[in-house]
Symmetry: C2
């Protein structure tokens, strides 16, 4: 290996990345130096020569988005943010790499570090988020741009590695990106032949470029990614010139480039070089600077990004001013959305229900909700993972987002649940007020929970419309019947899991979901119909749990129900009251919101002294003992379901009024 000497400004800039990474990872004795060392040239080519961004305003709307899909290489990104002049990453921050409370955590976290567009680390997510970012850009451009005034006009760039390319979610997302012809999505594939288990020859010998071509991508190969910055920059420009296809640029590199003994080995992937090898690398790369020292010439060059960025933003601001004057209504709408303000009265046309109204499945109430508020909420964009007419996620009159028809806002995700979730995250990461929603069967949360936890971690207001929410779905049988899924989702921090029990609660669930822009919501919705409850109201949902109906006086027994089982509770309560018992029915559409209420409210709904409690939910009991304690009971299903008509399944597994009554009485 012939290392580039650190004489030219370009080399100084490239090697500044490498040594910031080496030094930070040595100091913390933890991290992944191999990628920053190998990808420094492509990062320099991209960030110095191509990327449109403004370090002094990381949230400038029309910036190019950069996603480090190979998130373990985060020191690359922190070095770039520092070198180009972002205030969020000082040299002191870099010295605090991977320490408690730092802005330089072990993987990039968007909520910790301005300039980090997406949270990455779990492989395959970043490239899939990038598809969402590119969809957002294409959609807003088609919607708002006017002749001569391209208010929305940026690229989405990605650096991904072998790991990202092995993950199925990236394949799903790339297939959809190719189908949609997302020409402003450009991914650089760090082809370094090394993963943690060694050379990719042990498990990954496919022809990646050919695969992306099969997806409909434009592909380029840069053979010397270690030193040929010009070739990388040319490849990016060539990719930009292809406007009807996303581009994948395979950049062949050497992992840990510059390290005499560790380059091109798995040993440099995820462990500090150590002092000795760092010193040898300094010699090999002719780097005469001390730890955390960046030569002034490098700073001077890199930080031209600041003036470039300010000029870019100023130009854009001028465009916006023109747009405002020429298209005041559109500009007002555009700016409203960017501010994240919901339109006045967006939910005014949501219906309310009384017991006289026909009982419907909550998936049907959901459909009615989407069709009631969807027309008032143009920032709503979403669809289904190929279950549109089962999930009922379509909005009348809204056409499919397709190549050449990007202003449409119905997304046909295909049978790609995991990518759907990651793409929705990407749309939310775009930060432009778009509200993504997506549907599949509840049980298939199991296909996308890796992305759902990132919705929650990264505080993304994504709406999951998950229908067929229990064994009540019937004939499709146990492969399709969720049992553990509600528990799976409720265990995830910062995720609202809603299981509305009638029409009013479904409307309330959407009000909560739409207004919660910093956390994701799951709507667990039924296939089967249920009655509308006299005591329900949309407004109650925001409290998570509430008294649906009550006897006079202190209850001796509380029935707690959700979703389709709420009706079982009210019917059982009527029977029990007829026998003289004081029974309260509590509806609990969202446990998480209930737990956020103050102690007095919670006590008013579930008095500590009332320990005879029965939870009724056609799902696992796991997690419910927090509300039943040692003295209550759960009517639940703690095994897999079975294939049979839904009402038969429910009856066989004990979801009957008689069983609720009997269980309640068994508590004494």
């Amino acid at each position: 290996m012939v290392a580039a000497p650190s004489t030219s400004v370009e080399s100084l800039c490239v090697n500044s990345i490498r040594f910031l990474a080496i030094d930070a990872i040595n100091k913390s004795n933890s991290g992944h130096p191999g990628l920053p060392m190998g990808c420094a040239p492509m990062a320099f080519a991209l960030w110095d020569k191509v990327l449109k961004h403004n370090p002094k305003n990381p949230k400038w709307f029309n910036r190019d988005r950069f996603v480090l899909s190979a998130g373990h290489g985060c020191m690359l990104l922190y070095a770039l943010l520092h070198l180009t002049g972002y205030d969020s990453v000082t040299i002191e921050d870099i010295k605090q790499f991977r320490q408690w409370g730092s802005r330089t955590p072990g993987h990039p976290e968007t909520f910790e570090t301005p300039g980090v567009e997406v949270t990455t680390g779990p492989l395959g997510q970043g490239i899939s988020n990038a598809v969402g970012l590119a969809i957002a850009e294409a959609h807003l451009a088609a919607k708002f741009n006017k002749p001569g005034c391209d208010l929305v006009d940026h690229y989405t760039y990605v650096i991904m590695g072998d790991g990202c390319n092995q993950e199925g979610v990236s394949g799903e997302a790339a297939s959809l990106a190719g189908h949609l012809g997302l020409g402003k999505l450009i991914a650089l594939y760090d082809d370094n032949h090394i993963t943690i288990d060694g050379n990719t020859s042990v498990s990954f010998t496919e022809d990646v470029l050919k695969r992306y071509e099969a997806y409909g991508w434009h592909t380029i190969h840069v053979k010397d990614g270690n030193t040929d910055v010009a070739a990388i920059a040319q490849a990016i420009e060539a990719a930009k010139a292809v406007t009807d296809k996303p581009s994948l640029i395979k950049v062949t590199t050497t992992i840990g480039y510059g390290s005499p003994n560790k380059a091109n080995t798995a040993g440099v992937h995820g462990a500090a070089l150590g002092a000795e090898e760092a010193e040898l690398t300094r010699k090999a790369l002719d780097w005469s600077y001390g730890e955390f020292e960046v030569p002034q010439d490098a700073y001077d060059h890199w930080r031209q990004a600041i003036s470039r960025g300010e000029a870019l933003e100023a130009t854009w601001n001028a465009s916006l001013a023109t747009y405002r004057s020429q298209y005041p209504a559109e500009a007002a709408e555009f700016e409203r959305q960017l501010r994240g303000e919901l339109p006045q009265g967006w939910d005014a046309s949501l219906p309310s229900f009384s017991p006289e109204d026909k009982g419907l499945a909550t998936r049907m109430h959901s459909y009615n909700a989407l069709n009631a508020f969807g027309p008032n909420l143009p920032e709503l964009i979403g669809g289904s993972a190929d279950l549109t007419h089962s999930n009922l996620t379509d909005i009348k009159g809204e056409a499919s987002f397709q190549k050449g028809a990007e202003a449409n806002r119905y997304l046909h995700f295909g049978v790609r649940e995991h990518a759907m979730a990651a793409i929705m995250n990407g749309i939310a990461y775009h930060g432009s007020g778009l509200i993504p929603y997506g549907g599949t069967f509840l049980v298939f949360a199991g296909y996308m929970i890796g992305a759902m936890r990132l919705s929650a971690l990264s505080e993304l207001g994504v709406i999951y419309v998950l229908t067929h929410d229990s064994i009540g779905l019937g004939e499709d049988g146990p492969t399709h019947q969720p049992v553990e899924t509600l528990a799976n989702l409720r265990a995830i921090p910062n995720l609202l899991v809603m299981r509305p029990g009638d029409g009013n609660e479904t409307m309330g669930a959407y009000q909560v979901a739409v207004t919660n822009r910093k956390r994701p919501t799951v709507l667990a919705l039924s296939r089967q119909a249920m009655a509308n409850q006299p005591g329900s109201a949309a407004a109650h949902v925001a409290k998570g749990g509430y008294i649906l109906e009550d006897s006079n006086g202190t209850p001796e027994l509380i029935l707690i129900g959700t979703g389709t089982e709420l009706e079982l509770c009210t019917k059982a309560a009527a029977q029990l009251r007829a026998e003289g018992k004081n029974v309260r029915v509590v509806s609990m559409p969202c446990v998480e919101l209930f737990e956020e209420q103050d102690a007095a409210y919670r006590e008013s709904v579930l008095p500590a002294a009332v320990r005879k409690r029965v939870v009724v939910e056609a799902s696992s009991s796991f997690g419910w003992h927090k509300y039943t304690g040692f003295d209550g009971a759960c009517i639940s299903i703690d095994r897999f379901g079975a294939s049979a008509p839904g009402p038969v399944c429910l009856e066989k597994f004990g979801f009957t009024v008689d069983n609720v009554v009997a269980t309640a009485k068994s508590l004494g």
Copy 2:
């Protein structure tokens, strides 16, 4: 569309499938007729002309395996089983399609219906299971076959659809299958251009064959899958002739072929034809037979499979007899494995530990366990999703299973968690005694939980080695720190979740995992070290929870710990005892097993009267209130973690002896 007349025996056979499907789905008014109608010709070509199986012995070892990856089309499979003479599916069973207790559930379930090789329905799983089946076959063939005596020699066939090809898990598995050159894996891709949301043109326009070529597969296209049975059979033979690559045969078909008004529409995918359209289809296909009526000529032809199968098995039995006489030791070993008998003393070399022994991370104990019993257990086969030296899943001296080296038993799955789980399921489905294991980080259970629930549902004794099991992993931060994951897994029925707390418990956990051949086990293992406990023993693990140490007399307080937090409990107990409190420490390495113990045992460990209980686990509290009730407490983490050195994370989030002591005292 020109329908084939039902005059030739071939047409009778093909149309027998179609009308059994039409009639069964009409009767249940639920199901998916489109696939059986479109795939009947390829199914006939495969099952009548190629497939080696014995309907009278569905478990005959050397049969070809058939996987209906597009499981919603299960009436195709039930029709094939019935028509070829399996006792498991009578015409009465077909009339009970999708009814309670039937052998013909809504998706194929291996535990319900002999002849169903794998449980399918969740898309993408079946083809990925098939990769596991092909790995099992290749491994056993390389291990046991002798010159002139190919005891293990069968193909794995798959029918998959557009949905399977859109799911990421299938891409992961196909990439690995291409890498491994699994020449006896042959998939027929039902290219019918229709998914639930309509024509694939809305979301899926990639070049599927080119993608598989990029993976290293051999590909063929049969353009007329509706009528050209001979072309399909020829393609399968051509695929068999390519022995160094898996083959994908794209068979272009018309979904719902034969239905005048519904063919080639999404409407025939997942809904009954209805009586009227069924009648029109009878006319279109010249089918003069009644409901559920199979012409005798068709039965006569189809059921030649019985005599063929018996002859095949007899020939194989003769080979086995020869093998027994020529290679008695190998034969004995082969037959032992097929019987699922573990070798005598397989676990005799597992070490035991006392407090004097150095405290290690449980991932290191796991490594020592695998290296202690692995050499004694040749049916153990597994590896890691590219985290070998983090998961410590390697066994010294065991080389990598690769193309041309299939007798090796270390599997480099690549960065493909979901496929890893599905492939392990496939290896288990092979039914040849192989015990699959696979490692990744615990948090990435979120990438494969869709396959893990199928391990549990299908009663597959797969072993998941999931390391880095809490925030204690430290610097990698919240994207890598599981918080909700243990709860996610514990909520799944029929899955054993083990979190051993020292060396002895890790050994015991493996004893449970290896001996449980009808349910999967998760081993949640730490990155960080912990002390060996004087009261622990491998044998205790089988009870799930046990008294690790106790004060004299009835305890007033019980500390319940798992994994790395067990040590916190014993240290806190010592402090509390020094203050005069009667404290019991219960170790709970496996909640599920504890719950299976009889009431007397459970009461002896956790007396109902002792309500002061503290659970200590560096994970979500979700699910633990079953053991703490209203009066106890959980020391847990109900938010996402943070990037910092592990000990700092643990301290900041309250996992300290002081906090355990203070929390215990706060209970009064």
